[in-house]
Symmetry: C4
Subunit: 400 residues, 4 copies
């Protein structure tokens, strides 16, 4: 800890984004975007960006678990003046979607995270930037702020909608590097921290390894110190796991963030919670929220789908904490179901990458717009005028 | 409401129907009709007429849910003089099948709803005409009445069988338009109203959108005022949902229909009920019946299959109201199961369109005849001589 | 009943059977026989002989239901001197397999039921001859008796094994025709009657109808009076169902067979029972046994698989009556499971036709030998030296 | 028993092993090894080595049963200094994997069991040699001992890791042959006996029989007396089952091994236990452990998968005996789940053969290394630093 934290080189100016690409008219669903993206990425990039761990059963399970929930609509409800607004961490959001943190987005498109941020902000969609972003975090913040300014309501009569900007974080091997990253993100305008806790080691990424994927020279985690080569350890226990964070480390970090003397005041959400006891512990150490996630099926294959984990966690801590969920959401009805099972909001990951890969910012915006429209339709068809009307009773419980 | 209701232009004379087309001898089931119809319709018409919402999971679920119920027959019952007659809304019907309301049937065949009505009446099958019919409702009524006259029993000894003719209705944005439609349908001889309550917005019709379907110039909702172009609203909530009917609207309408002073006396069924509490509410506002339906999977994908929703609804209101069901019925055994789960009668939708598409009225009649014969066989093989013998005990309950 | 029963024409002499065809060495299971038979039969004969009702879901279910039961073996049991012998209707059988009654076997092979009988008797397998046999019942009895004589044990020390010969019967429209058939079967040496009670009407035989199957000129139900053409009735209720037998008819028949004055003394089994209450009623009217059957899925599609129906029926009447089962048994483990669920013996149908179709008597004998050997292996591997050791505890009950 | 036991011919010197073959870089999982092996073996060898009984449903079930268990990880546990060591039969093992006994490994590779032993020992993986090994058991023991010496820790500070070497045994028809084999194995350095108790007869090996597999001339069970030809018995009961061992035989053998006067002191595990009562009986007759196994689905098809049988057995005897399991384990997560359900260790069978078939000792070592690494990752990702942390609570229990 006595080492000096990593000092970042001066930033280059904000790059110019590519002109908008139109989205083909027969792309009308997130699966259409996926199909299209598959054409635009080589095998290795596809494997890295969209593949999962081992046999990719959790990847499949995640999607299927939402699909297999059946909706039981109510009819003739009062739907006029419905909307999708919600309160989250003290702000009013336009809708319950956020873009999930995903590493190295310049693998999908030259503009990478900048195009992603632009599209998200245009759709009033919160963005969670990955620690392993391939563009400078300050540039992302600038793009989001610019779009917020452009879309600010003309009059004070409209509710004051906020588009969130959060920073995803892995605890760094060196404590001071972690704090330096937090300081830098806060300074750039990021408003919350998302600590990923479900990946003490990499998953068994077979698809990726089969293609021999390595990062190309022009894509890197530009916000992190360059990796220091070290002798290959005999196994995981003596390798990366030496640095795996524990509940104690989280408690220490949160205590440090809470101290009155510190200028660090960002709320922290723990991402990767799958057990209600871990959710309770997150609450007890002072987290502002949990994200129910299995890392999109990229780490532990055959981990339970998040739709199965969510209800018990929402029941355990939903009254005290923000509960978000990701993994396999591909339809407005999936989002509706997540809210019915107790989530406050959801993260959308791979589908945004798909849009990005084949059509840049326009693709991402299209993906988010589709989901928003589908959510509107699902709410109306289930008889829910606001998110508060979405209760568990809209999920059919089959009595066998 | 002060605007004058839409005044309909004078009707043209009843068109001449095309000569009957024979049905190929290897078409022996509803699925054969579907396969054949698929050859006769282009991608876009098929998508509109036969497609469903989103991933079409509810379309598939509807069919599968009936199939997966297993029958447990009883043997050596007294079957002589069995029959399929039933009482429904005060009339005696030959059998428990009705043709479901479906829009724009001239997309499937030039004679559209006229051929459908002719075939239905020839098979003593009730017909529910869609608000969005592509022929004049008066013409349909004339065709049905003509066939009723032709098939009237010669002597008074035969039970007096009636072939129902009902009108399906969406609440129109303008109240007086709704009343004017009702008056016109009643004047033409329609005997009941089917209010569709499960489609406050259109579903996410991906298949349709992918093909770029639009109505051809020669097919229109000829019984409705022409649509008035209006500026595209930013989303559903400020668009169509401004006019979405509520329970209050239904109560108002039913009260109006009940007043002694009014000449309007048509019984009303609510179509699109999936929850027993909504069925109870339908009863409480004075509906004559409910139709358990998820709109054939065309609106809310992953809505529960109707076979799952039916039993609780039949139990809740079956003693008080007519309970009908539609969605995915493709076999006489499916119809038998619907009755065993508590339905009084069933609606058949897409299969009639399939017959219509490839063989006009003869195709529809063949479809209905197949179902009637299959129902006869299912009853005999399960040991039921009349519909009253069809109890829930014929559905096998597996004790795991 | 005043009409004279049908008087049968004099029999022709017993025909000479075709020479034995060897079975190919890569045919090692019943499914291999099925594949081979498929090559030897045209579409229409295959449809008639091996097809099922409607979508053939019960055909598939029957097989799957046995397969999905999991065995939980016990080890190190005393297996020396094990055997498969059983007592059934007062006789000692070599093993618990019988050939199911199947109509018109000459459709599969020129020697038809004669080859089937020869093979069955050679494998000490009981035979149930169909009313609709395409050879004279007396000829079948002669073939069986000849084989019994040929394989009689040389000394009295071997247990006296008997190979049963039963006659399957549909109640005929005319009572005296029924009695005449029974008399004739008894005179020929048949030892029990199998009354089929699950087919008051034909099933919805789509596959058959698609191929336009009709009986060829040289295949007929030679033991029955020729069908008298009659005007096509408007539907099933006024057609065949006029003659559908009832419990009263069965009771009358059994009473007649029981009278001390009568020379008719054949025990009667009811075939097609799927409900325990019907099994109880069969017992109460005096049946000697029931055969749990859904007619091989040829009549009512989506009827429950027999493996699901068997346990409750065996529990209801297994102590009082012989309980047999058929439908979808394709492996020695399937037979083992049927016995574990309470059956005394099983009927094998289509697999025998498969063997017959491609290799005549040798094919049938091979099928039966495979099943016998597989049953031996299943018993030994589950730790059962005799049929009496096969209890329900060998079926794994998953505690979810 | 008065016959003299089989006297083995003098051993030839230890053969030289083939040079190591590299494993292709796109082979990153056990399924990749399987695919590769499939290319290297002809149909008949593949059928014998990797096929299963009958329809191979248990082969498939075994794998699927592990896959369908869902993991529910815990996060932020203390993982530093984790490891996979365990105590088994009084020794410390590096990890909970052993190579299962498999016959005739020279069918897969000319070096057969010698290459297998070399690779196993190199990976500190215990080896169970089959009675039907195709190389001399003394040679296998020599290879293992050599590798143990080569990898012995330089200093006393490292925990003293032992690589087990066990001998699998079928009871021989002649008692003295059984004892002679045990003596010989013990003399060679084998440390435990694995008595296979689930194969009193061969399974119904359809795939093998279809290919007409027979042992080639250069592969034989060199540690057994040559088979004495005997007249083919009429069926299993009078054939091999005459010699099928019983609980009494096991008790006799174990008593003999326990006598203070005897030099035979090897602990005995019974392999092929699937019922908790049989596990209790194994304990009561003095076994040191049980191996939950269905013989890899090679004997009784539709036997329950081992993942279903394990929990009740572990609960019944896990406190008293070593409980091992095999069948269908293909992933580190599968191994993790087996431990969570109560196993102390697992046996890996076919995957080792796959590695052997296409890349000899290097292939086997690669298979074992993959599994070890995957187990490390699964433990870390589930929040378990040692095997003792792996509890049943990591298996998600869905509340339906």
């Amino acid at each position: 800890m006595s080492q000096r934290p990593y000092a970042h080189p001066p930033l280059s100016p904000l790059p110019t984004l590519a002109p908008l690409t139109p989205v083909a008219p027969d792309i009308v669903s997130l699966r259409d975007h996926e199909r299209e993206a598959r054409q635009h990425l080589d095998e290795a990039r596809w494997a890295y960006l969209c593949g999962g761990a081992a046999d990719e059963r959790t990847v499949t399970d995640n999607q299927r678990a939402w699909q297999e929930l059946r909706l039981q609509p109510r009819v003739l409800q009062h739907l006029r003046q419905g909307h999708t607004r919600l309160e989250l961490l003290g702000r009013t959001l336009a809708h319950p979607l956020l873009v999930a943190p995903m590493a190295y987005q310049r693998l999908a498109h030259p503009d990478g995270e900048l195009a992603m941020a632009l599209a998200a902000a245009a759709q009033q969609t919160g963005l969670i930037l990955s620690t392993q972003a391939s563009v400078y975090l300050e540039h992302v913040a600038a793009v989001v702020q610019q779009m917020r300014d452009d879309t600010a309501p003309a009059s004070a009569s409209t509710p004051s909608i906020h588009t969130p900007l959060w920073f995803q974080l892995y605890m760094q091997p060196r404590w001071d590097d972690t704090l330096a990253l937090i300081d830098r993100a806060q300074a750039a305008g990021f408003e919350a921290l998302v600590l990923t806790v479900d990946a003490p080691v990499q998953g068994v990424r077979d698809r990726e390894r089969r293609t021999g994927f390595t990062l190309p020279l022009d894509v890197a985690a530009v916000n992190l110190p360059p990796p220091t080569p070290s002798p290959e350890p005999p196994n995981a226990w003596t390798g990366v796991l030496r640095h795996a964070p524990t509940w104690q480390d989280i408690a220490d970090l949160l205590r440090q963030l809470e101290q009155p003397s510190t200028h660090r005041r960002l709320p922290v959400l723990l991402k990767g919670i799958l057990h209600p006891d871990d959710a309770r512990r997150a609450r007890d150490v002072g987290a502002a929220g949990v994200i129910v996630s299995n890392h999109g099926g990229r780490t532990l294959d055959t981990a339970l789908p998040t739709a199965w984990a969510l209800p018990a966690i929402a029941q355990a801590v939903g009254a005290d904490l923000a509960v978000l969920v990701d993994g396999g959401l591909r339809r407005g009805t999936d989002v509706f179901k997540a809210l019915a099972l107790g989530a406050d909001a959801v993260l959308i990951g791979r589908p945004c990458l798909h849009g990005l890969a084949h059509a840049g910012a326009a693709g991402v915006a299209h993906v988010l717009r589709l989901l928003r429209d589908e959510l509107d339709a699902a709410m109306a068809l289930c008889g829910c005028a606001t998110l508060a009307d979405i209760h568990i009773d809209r999920i059919f419980q089959k009595i066998e």
